[in-house]
Amino acid sequence: MNALAHDGLKVELGRRYHFAAAHRLHSARLSEAENSRLYGKCNNPHGHGHNYVLEVSLSGDIDPATGMIANLADLDGFVQREVLEAFDHRSLNDEVPEFREQVPTTENLCIEIYRRLRAFPNAKLERVRVQETNNNSFEYAGEREIEAPINAPQEIGAR
């Protein structure tokens, strides 16, 4: 097998997983009326559910012996154990300890999934993206600076 030299390129592996879960958006720090106003029907008392799509992105060197950044069977097993078994066909509020206190918005879900997956031993976790519906998705890449669009401030100032 050819050794793959460092060629200035970065390759990421993206893998999608699917799980279905129930949640209810309700903050113990807000009154009933405030919860209802803020969360609307997401605050309905018995919860509701979504078909979530989880997208996991990993980076690392491509192993010349396997052509892979990470063995898919290893990644699938890790995500299954750390996330899917805990979340799939569960109530996030009632069955995931981290969401007893925290509101299980998809923002918080992203952060929790990132926290659970960043220990994956065979590659670097770049980001997780969670799609709650076809129209809503959220991404978390750990705490880092978000790059400003190139030249944007200068262009605005020049006009």
């Binding site: 970065k10 491509i62 052509g67």
Partner: protein, 138 residues
């Protein structure tokens, strides 16, 4: 900077097998991707080019030129082909999504003269894909 993405689809077969490993090791590492006669996928390729819109044409890149380039470099080379047997650029490499994405980047990057190649995303299935970009330009 504006990003423009063009999508194409091609179908190809491949097999994962490293001749340096024993048959048992190949089977263990690659699973059913090591089945002796190979298998295939419908690949989806998204090619993203970055640039400023030309003041005269309003385009980052002439799409018909990009289409022709993708036809020449990717479709003719890979569509309805066996990636292990028929694509010399992949010789000596396991034709994983990661390696194929990187090969496509290297084929396209020197030939894109309007704008700059920003990202190559190759889907092997809706649930598995690889991205290739310049290091530091993610």
């Amino acid at each position: 900077m504006v990003l423009l993405t063009r999508k194409i689809e091609f179908s190809a077969s491949h097999r994962y097998d490293n001749p340096a490993l024993s048959a048992e090791e190949n089977r263990r590492v690659f699973g059913k991707c090591n089945n002796p006669h190979g298998h295939g996928h419908n690949y989806t390729l998204e090619v993203t080019v970055a640039g400023e819109p030309d003041p005269v044409t309003g385009m980052v890149v002439d799409l018909s030129e990009l289409k022709k380039l993708l036809e020449r470099e990717v479709m003719q080379r890979m569509d309805h082909r066996h990636l292990n047997e028929e694509v010399p650029e992949l010789a000596g490499q396991i034709p994983t999504c990661e390696n194929v994405a990187r090969v496509i980047w290297k084929l396209l990057d020197p030939k894109i003269t309007q704008g700059k190649l920003h990202r190559v995303r190759l889907y092997e299935s809706p649930d598995l894909f690889a991205d290739c970009c310049r290091n530091g330009a993610a």
